[in-house]
Symmetry: C4
Subunit: 266 residues, 4 copies
């Protein structure tokens, strides 16, 4: 059992890990095209679950630890911090409020996903990694609750709560009509794998749908994969994927620092 | 109120800003593939509205301030300047003459837009940034007024005026059958955003149209966006996009110079 | 005739060539996108045909000679070697056991091939290099023998033997539903040519199938090509392709070493 | 009028220009993907019209002046030169023999053109530069005259003459079923423009054909373009395109040398 000092140190190390994970997620998701200059990525605060961490308004591929601000679950800035936040930060607040199991959220406009936001067709689980996002990917249309006179952006808690309500209990991704997607991950690491799986599967469905009838993964296959693969994100075989992507994004130094903090946070 | 010297200096600074904006627009539009080696980009003269600025005949990705010439609204070169101009400069002249609100014009042959110039299908506003170019994108066919014996190039004022007449009062883009596009922007900054939005939307429509019926932005949504986003191109949040693209094109130095001139031009 | 020492030296040189060929195949197949971070590539042991060579669990684009382990035809590690192997190594074991003519095997998830693993359409030999993989490319579905509750991965010999049984006597490639492909080559060099041919042909079929009815290579044409082109993988004109790809992958030094070993192994 | 020495010098300069043009055409066509590692490009000998210049068997992107050999119009090597030639050199021989107006020939397997070699659909002139290759692009199938038991390669004069016969009097490109294309240019410069136009038009037709009925260039438009644009390949505005591509391929030095030789060859 930790003494108070040890507990304090452990908390700080946890926050340190979370900040690194958030920087890695920003950079990796930018590199693979999941988020463009106008997307954003957050993680829940590791020791204060009613807060989340999100960069000041900045292109994800530029985000560094110094850019990260803290917000409460109404999207309000915490602490004296007058840097301009993202306009659509409410999305993150509402998803963390609605879903206790969610630890990381991304919102972006990946080109390969957009066709599924404007065509009347659902995304189907085809490639084996589809278990990362699951069989059901709802489409949320801002018109349904807010009429056809909005500018499509989610700029207050009312809109964000309505969007968060579109997630079913087992859903991890919601598409936004004419706009983009929101992905809600179990961790920064799973969020990255999920966004990649989502993009791979979308590209596949776009290509395959012109060839003929498609064979989907069954619900049983998705369940079997979730049971046997990747349930523990800190397992070495899962971390290998996370590390691989971080290295591709030029973040080897951050990985080293993360490993040290990880030891201290236990 | 400025004294005569101050007014003169302000004028020169305005022209300096316009020249920089034109170089940035050339380079950025070349980098994103909106214009190829044979496209061209212009801005209206900031203090002499019956003139416009356009490079000598040169690939847009190479254009520098020293390449820029001045033309009147008949496409004639102003001043003693015997450098060869673009063959199709008349397009710019006619659009500035017909539309007082237009401050920047691009003509190019972006590959992703060409399908909409040869297929009997209209471009539809699908992705949220479609408000930059709007719900209506007319297709102009040189055959209609000039018969099927032309070489498709717009090489005199008659042809250019006919083309300029294809723009409806609220239209910002016209497609040219088998040839390319003309985009008429509110500013160099808006021209860049518009070309990007146009290309993103075209790529999206090409992909999505194979999936099933499509959901368009409503006219109300386009209006709401125009009211609430980007009406002021010099607003910091709009300038951020312009600066982002300029930096990607390696033009950070020009941005600094622009900021200094901007202060002096007020 | 070689004396015992000469024979021993010849054996060692053969193994040296095989190790180099395996490194080249890993790197080249990664470079052209046939295998991603999770694919793997093997060659049969050149002098002990009931063994095969395969890297420890590592991304193919990073594989070096020091990473290579030896396995028997049940997928068991040979020798004291406790490095973690690929989970799906059984695929290689079962294919080498079932097919004496196979000297090199690749398993991957090339994006361009995936549509043919989820759509009910067969891959058709269209481009002339299709003789490398042939007229028949079976699709194996793990559900048929193992039910719809698997996680799709091939993780034991039972599954691997069933998969290996999907190869007809003249087949060189099997597709795995929702998962990827297994290619069984006559040599490392032919494996590379075959993967390239497979990807080129898949891209072609995806594009062409939207245009109208397709003209396939005839069986006679495939036979004529196999008789007249590339039957001898060490022929200079075949080695030129292998060398070209190796050089593109930055492996010129390995090629030089291979040439020296090749002389000694005769 | 030149004295004999002057005439000799002029001849040598012409050959020097031709060699440079051939190197540029090889490198540029490789860079834009018109020819891959197995394509080849030739020019007719400038002063001996019954000969042509073609590299020894080598990847076009590596070809240098020292690689170039001379052949007669039966595809036989001229002079003592035992370097291995391309297997399919007969294509070039037969086209130069059949068509006096042709000065440059390319054979390749550009991926974007292949769909038109296997689908029962003709290539249609859609984008304005289609005048470079024209309204009619025949498809030649080796089966028609040589049966379905060939290996598809053109390896003797009989096959090559049959292929050359597929060009109509005004045709500049023939597609080869399941194999690739042959383009017959008026000059090295026009050959480059034509290959680019062919690839742009093919990409356009592939994309546009999914949208709806297509609008082709008329025969009159093609004629008007041929009359008014690019009839003189040494005209500065035509040379600008040639120079632009050569510079992109890193061949600025060769262009300078060409300009000097050009003056001496007059």
């Amino acid at each position: 059992m930790l003494n108070p000092t040890g507990r304090q140190e452990s908390k700080e190390s946890s926050l340190g890990v979370a900040l690194i994970d958030l920087v890695i997620a920003n950079r990796v998701l930018a590199r693979i095209g999941a988020v463009d200059a106008y997307g954003h990525v957050s993680v829940r605060h590791p020791t204060e679950p009613d807060r989340f961490l999100l960069s000041r308004s900045r292109s994800p591929r530029l985000v560094d630890r110094g850019d990260i601000m803290q917000f409460d679950l109404d999207g309000a800035v915490i602490g004296p911090d007058d840097r301009p936040p993202y306009l659509e930060r409410f999305i993150h607040a509402a998803v963390y409020a609605a879903r206790e199991d969610v630890q990381a959220v991304a919102h972006g406009h990946a080109q390969v996903l957009l066709p599924f936001t404007v065509a009347e067709v659902r995304m189907r689980p085809l490639f084996m990694t589809a278990d990362e996002f699951g069989a059901n990917v709802p489409l949320w249309d801002i018109r349904t609750a807010f009429g056809s006179g909005t500018n499509l952006l989610i700029t207050d808690m009312d809109q964000a709560k309505d969007l968060a309500g579109a997630f079913g209990r087992n859903d991890r991704v919601v598409l936004l009509r004419g706009h983009g997607f929101v992905a809600a991950g179990r961790s920064a690491s799973q969020l990255i794998r999920m966004c990649k799986a989502l993009m791979d599967n979308a590209a596949l469905q776009l290509e395959a749908s012109r060839l003929g009838p498609l064979m989907e993964l069954t619900g049983e296959e998705i369940d079997a994969r979730r049971r046997t693969i990747g349930a523990d994100d800190e397992h070495p075989s899962m971390m290998r994927g996370f590390e691989y992507e971080a290295i591709e994004a030029g973040l080897e130094e951050l990985l080293r620092e993360r490993a040290e903090l990880k030891i201290r946070s236990k």
